[in-house]
Structure formats: C-alpha cells, structure tokens
Symmetry: C2
Subunit: 380 residues, 2 copies
Amino acid sequence: MIVKKKFFTFAYPPHEFVFEMGKKLGPLTIAYETYGELNEEKTNGILVLHALTGDSHAAGFYSSEDLKPGWWDNMVGPKKPIDTEKFFVICSNVIGGCMGSTGPASIDPKTNKPFGMRFPFVTIGDMVRAQKRLIDHLGIKKLLAVIGGSMGGMQALEWSVRYPHMVHGVVPIATTAKHSAMAIAFNEVARQAIINDPNWNYGDYYDKLPPIHGQAVARMIGHITYLSDIALRKKFDRSVQDTAYKKNPFDTQFSVSSYLRYQGEKFVNRFDANSFLYLTRATDYFNLAQTHGQGSLVKAFSKAKAKFLVISFSSDWLYPTYQSKELVKALKKNGLEVNFCEIRTDYGHDSFLISNPKLEALVAGFLDNLYETKVKKGKC
Amino acid sequence: MIVKKKFFTFAYPPHEFVFEMGKKLGPLTIAYETYGELNEEKTNGILVLHALTGDSHAAGFYSSEDLKPGWWDNMVGPKKPIDTEKFFVICSNVIGGCMGSTGPASIDPKTNKPFGMRFPFVTIGDMVRAQKRLIDHLGIKKLLAVIGGSMGGMQALEWSVRYPHMVHGVVPIATTAKHSAMAIAFNEVARQAIINDPNWNYGDYYDKLPPIHGQAVARMIGHITYLSDIALRKKFDRSVQDTAYKKNPFDTQFSVSSYLRYQGEKFVNRFDANSFLYLTRATDYFNLAQTHGQGSLVKAFSKAKAKFLVISFSSDWLYPTYQSKELVKALKKNGLEVNFCEIRTDYGHDSFLISNPKLEALVAGFLDNLYETKVKKGKC
C-alpha cells in the first residue's frame, strides 16, 4: 500500500483557532493520511489517533523503496483488522506536534521565527477540536469509529463526549481518563531533563544545537515506562555486549543500556524537544471528569452516545488496567454498551503497537459489527 | 541518643586495598558510627548497612540542637527493634561514597587533586571487604547479625557468602541477588542525565559548578522508583499548588512535580554526583550467583551458614517480591534456616525506611532469638 502524507490548513472564521487556554492562532495545518475509499454515503470513516510521539503515518509505505511501514501497519490495511477494503481510514497528526502539523517548531507568521515556547498551550481537547475541522472538511458527518492507544486513546475518549453525535464507536486502548501522579512524575522528570539542558535555551534553539542530551534522557525515561519488567528481562536480562556502546569512561556494557541510548539518540533526530514538552503537558493536564463532568467521570460520559470497546494490557504499569476499569464502570453507569478486555501480555504499555492476535480480533470484531449495523444497514 | 561520626583508616599490608577490579589504593578511610556497648565477649555486634545514598548516621542526633535523627532511628536505639541496650550496633558508610569514606571526591595523595573518575571501580564485594577490616579493627570475631535494605541488603547477602563464619544472622530487606534489566535501565538513564550535563566534565568538577541539573534529574528518576503508583496517588494524586514552584515558563503546577524537584535539589546539596555514578554502577554489576556460584544462586549460598530473615514489600516494583523469593528458594535448597515475609504496604521500595510495626516486629523477633541463643547462651 503506497500512501501519501496530506495537509489540511484551516483558517476558519474568525481566521484563528481559539485554544482552550485562551490564545488564538491561525491558520493552522494538520498533517493526515487516508487509506481506503470513502463510500458514497460517507458512513465508513474511521479516525485513527496516534500516541505521544507518533504521526499521521499509520500504515503503508511512502514509496516502493520505503522499508519502514506506518506505525500501525499490522492493524490498518486491506483485510487487516481496520480493513481498508471496507473502511475509509483517516490518521490525523496532532497540533502542537512536529510531524507536519502546526506546532512550536512552525514559523510564526508575525515574527517569521519559530514559535518555540510562544506557541499556545495545547490540550487534548484542542487536538480533537482541530481534528473535527478535518473531518468536517472531508465531508464526514459521523465517523463509524474513533480508535487510538495511549494519548490516542485520550483523544478517542475526548471525541466521545465532545462530539457524541459524530461517532458510532469508540475504541480507547491502553489509556486513561486522567494521568496518575506516577505518570505525571515520569513526564515531569523527562521535561526537566530537556529544560535543564543548557541548549534548550527557553525553547529557542532552532538555529542552534537543540537540547539533544536532555531530549535523549527524556526519551529513555519514557521508553522504560512503555515497557515492563518482564519484557525487559526477556529481551535483555543482564546480557552484556563486547562491542560496547562506549562514549565515556563510565559507560556500562549492559545491552539494555545501549538499547536505551540508541532509542534516545534516534528520538533526537526525529522529534522536536519543544513538541515533547507541549504534548506531555497536554497528557498530564487531560482530565475527562474535570473538563466534562465537574469532577465526575460518570457525569462526563453522560454526554456519550457511542458503543465502546475498552482494551487494557496486563503488564501496562503506566496506564494500569484499574484505570481502564474506571472508564468501563463510568460508561456502564450511563447504560452505554461497553466491551472490555484486559489482554494478558508481557510487553507493557507499548503492547498496543505490537502485533497481537487478541487485540486484532477484538478490534476487527467490534468494527465488523459496526459495519454490519451502521454501514450496510444504512444502505438498505 | 547523642552520637558521633567516627573514622577508621586502614593501611593494611601491603598498604593498599586491592579492589576487585584490580586497582590498588591506600590508605582508605571508612566513616562509621556505633550505638550501644560491645559486651566483654564481643558477641553482641550488629552491622547495619545503608542504601545507595545513605550514610553511617543510622540513629540518634549529633547534638542536643540537632533536629534530624539518623535514617533508621525508628529501628535503632534503646528498646527499639535493634535494641542498643542489648546490642552493639555498627553502621558503616561504603567506600566509593561521599559521606566521610574514601571515594571519588577524596583527594588523591599522588596528585593532590580529587580522584574523580580516576577512583577505582567499586563493587559491593569491595564495600564488604572494607567493612570486614572495620569489624576486625573493632575486635569482633563474629557478628550477631548483618542487616540492611536495598543496596544495604546486597551487602548483607555478600557478607553471608564471603565471610560465612563471621555472621550468625542475615537480614536482607527489599533487595535482590541481582538487578533486573529494568533496575539497570533506570540507573542507566540516571547516570546518563549526569554524564550528559556539560558541568560533569568527565568527573572533574570539584573546583567548578557540579552537574547539578543532571544530578537533580537523576535523583528524580530514582525517587519515583523508590515510591509506588498508589503511594504517589495517596500523597499527591493530581493536586496542584497555587504557589507554584515556577522557575521557567513551562513548569506545571502539580504538587508531585514540585515535590520531585525539591528532592532533586536537596540531593544536589548533600551528595556527590560521581559517587552516585560509582554506587549505582556497583549495584548494577552486583550478581551474587555469578560472583560466588558460577551463575547458580543455590551454589553461591552453599557457602552461607547463617540464619536468614528475608523481607520484601508488596508495592516494591524496583526489587519486587519475586526476587526475594528467588533468594529464599536458593537458601532453602541449601537447608539453611530462612524466615521470609512479604509485608503488605503501599509505600513501595522505600518502605524499609518508614516506620512499620510488622517490619519492626519481624526484625526485633529475629534479633531477640539470636540474642537468646547466641549471646546469652554463650555467657552460660
């Protein structure tokens, strides 16, 4: 499947997008990709939402020479769980990011310099409000489903209560209605690693060396939280490597160390440090109950109308199953149709990105059911 | 209880201490404290071993104006679980540290400059071998018990197999025979935070500004791993504070963030960054089975002769209970007398530092039993 990154720029009246925290900006651009064909009735649209450092490239390859498919290529494609022979799949990048959408690294037209820290604070609500413009632009009145893992799951939840009339089905995976103190704590330390790097320079580093050391440390912290004790043990245990990744006299030789450092360095090359600050902050401040239910999650979901499939992973200690169960409980109290499954797996939080027959079957089944009842039936 | 820090300097033939990794150094100094009186037979000695960033000040106050007691004051003192009316308690600082013992911040007599990274690599075995010199110096042939939590527990385990004829009882608390890949990973990231700080300067910062930012981040990472999801939730949840601890435009207002930053800054003032590198490395490389049993923990403990009391904490995810159970299994396979308890508590790894009736009762009971059978009986 050869795909193409697209861009949607909106300068909707009054020409500026009003962020939830009050600032205005415009026009804004969202990078997105689509897979499959939108049917005539425009009823087969599925919006896929990516995690913190993801992008709009969920599936396929950019060219026949491209070796690396999109991040959810096991899930999205012809005859795959999110079947592009049936569905029109849209994957939207988030505003505040750095993968083609307007964010801190974008040029501020007023100054002709990158926004840096002058970019407005972004919330999960802002991301979803911007995505809504994209869905409107595509002429879709109601999405068959919104689906996402981690920060993508937060967006899916936000969609369900902010635009209840626009979604038939919602699939929040490995996510939470609000960050625990521990999740905030890890994000905070990761941000501190960047902010404390002298190269960060209050976010104005775009014409200089970026805060690569701090950013690498931030990524390493995050990366550990995405895995699990057992996943790390199975993958590395205490193995050492002779061809040590030694850059300084104090480097250890444990494979897990080299692996993390490799992940850290790779991240520096593909992601903007300021976007990392903005997006982690958005996840920390995400609080569905507070924003939509005056502190009550049950009340927040009273607005929702969709069917839900909630999925958690047994070894995910960043957003543990008890947090998914809180979602399920609040949804059920509103009489909503909810399917819930905790998938037993060792891969930790990142499990949603890894091919898993159970995950694939659950999502395929849920979407097929929606397809039968909402798309085919609508045609009759 | 008013106590005093003491120092023992040894220049044992051939005047230098040979580190396990081969380097020699001497003379070396160990900071230590003692509480209670050594009996005539010298049979009531208990060696208390501290954790990574601990020191020899386990109990009491340095003066009547001193507001802060030693780190295990709930455990060590008159009529306390480690009862100084019965026992002669020794708490020894570790070499490689920075709390009065010879370490990277000490002056190298050959250059008149701090050792920095030229200090020999230190192992848990080296710490214990140096402590043995101290115990010899105090005239104690056999300790009634060695007891310690976390890195202190590693030393206790090392004592049990390295000097089996010198210990009657061993109490490893919240510890492990080897670090998991996850524990190594967290230490690695913490070290990278320091090493990546330009002020670290390959360890030569003693006449300049130390790597305070990297070190603070390192401490924050560690601190999260010492706590637990539930402990953080109970203490902070998502509370925010108005009097925000704001140093830069991107600081969040979550209490957990301020708390961590406070911990990070406090740590910078009291601990040497290079010692942090050396000691975390020592814990990562600690591997009892490899050093003493050719890879077999059962074989390693075949040398041990002591009675054991192994204690873990249910919410400790840094050294989870399964690691203590591995110790217990290997000890039992050697026919050794082992008591084991997983204490249910929400406080995570740091539980061993917090007053806990169950912990106190277990330790008191174990030591009383040793006292009755080894000290009193010996007198008869």
